[in-house]
Symmetry: C2
Subunit: 238 residues, 2 copies
């Protein structure tokens, strides 16, 4: 039970380099130590080093160039669709305000925005919360989130204002989002959305239904995001 299996060397190296990048020890544009250097400093052979680097490349942390080296790219952006790109170029994070419309409430449901729920998820129920994200006094996102009621201590009483769910999951529960599925569509605003976004009837809205996979085997959560892309498009890299 909970046997702490030693990480293979290539994963150790991967985690270490990754941390250096996310911590900012290596900045965008920096060149990582060469593969041979990493070999000697970590006492492994080149294929092992390359395996770690391959992973960093794949995830967008670094870029490699033959004859040159491994160039740090920085934090990969837009795993899925996360960041915003506005007509005004520079938008501080400070201008993004998050308001809770409906506090986390335990409900029973059979389906999460088109994604079928597992039997045990139906059984334990899900926390449901609604939030509105406002940028420069303008509502941009309205989202509904469903989180299955597995053992997440004090979940319903946590403060979700101005903190992303992803961040809470990671810092409070050591759960990371490892991937997911999403479905996108353009719709016209219904009454509720019209009101939240303060737009006219028939206004085009982007809707995003997502199922998030996590590092916790068998734990998923779900969200439905409505986005007013009139002034701010959804931006992402892939």
């Amino acid at each position: 039970m909970a046997v702490k299996k030693a990480l293979p060397p290539y994963k150790v190296l991967y985690e270490q380099l990754r941390k250096h990048i996310t911590d900012g020890n290596y900045k965008r544009g920096d060149i990582l130590p060469s593969e041979n250097e990493l070999c000697t400093t970590h006492q492994v052979t080149r294929p092992t080093v390359r395996k770690a680097l391959d992973r960093l490349v794949h995830e967008g942390y670094i870029r490699k160039k033959q004859g040159k080296g491994s160039i740090v790219q920085g934090q990969p952006q837009g795993v899925g669709i996360l960041s915003l790109s506005g007509t005004t170029s520079a938008i501080g994070k400070d201008n993004l305000e998050t308001r809770i419309i409906v506090k986390p409430t335990l409900i029973k449901c059979d389906d999460a925005f088109g994604f079928p729920l597992l039997d045990f998820e139906k059984e334990v129920g899900c926390y449901r919360l609604e939030r509105l994200r406002i940028m420069n006094k303008q509502p941009i996102f309205y989202d509904i989130t469903l989180v299955p009621n597995i053992n997440l201590p004090r979940f319903s009483s946590r403060n979700f204002e101005n903190r992303s769910l992803f961040e809470i999951m990671r810092t409070s529960y050591q759960i990371e989002i490892s991937g997911g599925e999403q479905k996108l569509m353009a719709i016209t605003a219904d009454d509720k959305v019209q009101q939240y976004f303060n737009v006219a009837a028939g206004h085009p809205i982007l809707r995003l239904d997502r199922k998030m996979e996590t590092s916790e085997e068998g734990f998923f959560f779900y969200s439905q995001v409505y986005c007013n892309t009139e002034n701010y498009g959804l931006y992402g890299t892939f």
Copy 2:
């Protein structure tokens, strides 16, 4: 100029296996020949075979299970945003028809759907083509593509019907899409789009502006995709 560089063995094997999967010779659930078998049949060593398989895993064509083998997953869904998920679950590829509306034409432009063009791209001009993708007799995508006029032999005369640009790039020019940026928004159909999609005025449309990076240093291409998501949502994994 245009030296036909021989593909390295691992890429040859990758292409071959990939083709077998996309052609349906290997179906979902099938087990690929074991790594050692592939070694003998292709006269390469295991690391080489594994490199090809790693790539297929990464792209979602196969899944590997230690002690068992390589299990075919089928067509990968949504590298970036590509595939479709309809209300009807099973949609054969056969039902997706691609029609060229405007054949590749060399034009000069300063800007590609919001992405600034490099100086040399402005100088050499771009091929522009327009396509309409039709599924079950219903137009789903309308896209405009801009490809800078670098040396791509016979580009303008190639057949783009029912073949993705990505595929042509890969097989004819050994150019792979390594990533990119995209911007998403919901809009209402303008006159042209209304006509192509045969929808009413004010119909919500999803617009996707993309800049594609390639394995060829400094070579990008651009597309603007209009999507009628009324019956088929855009589906992707991340």
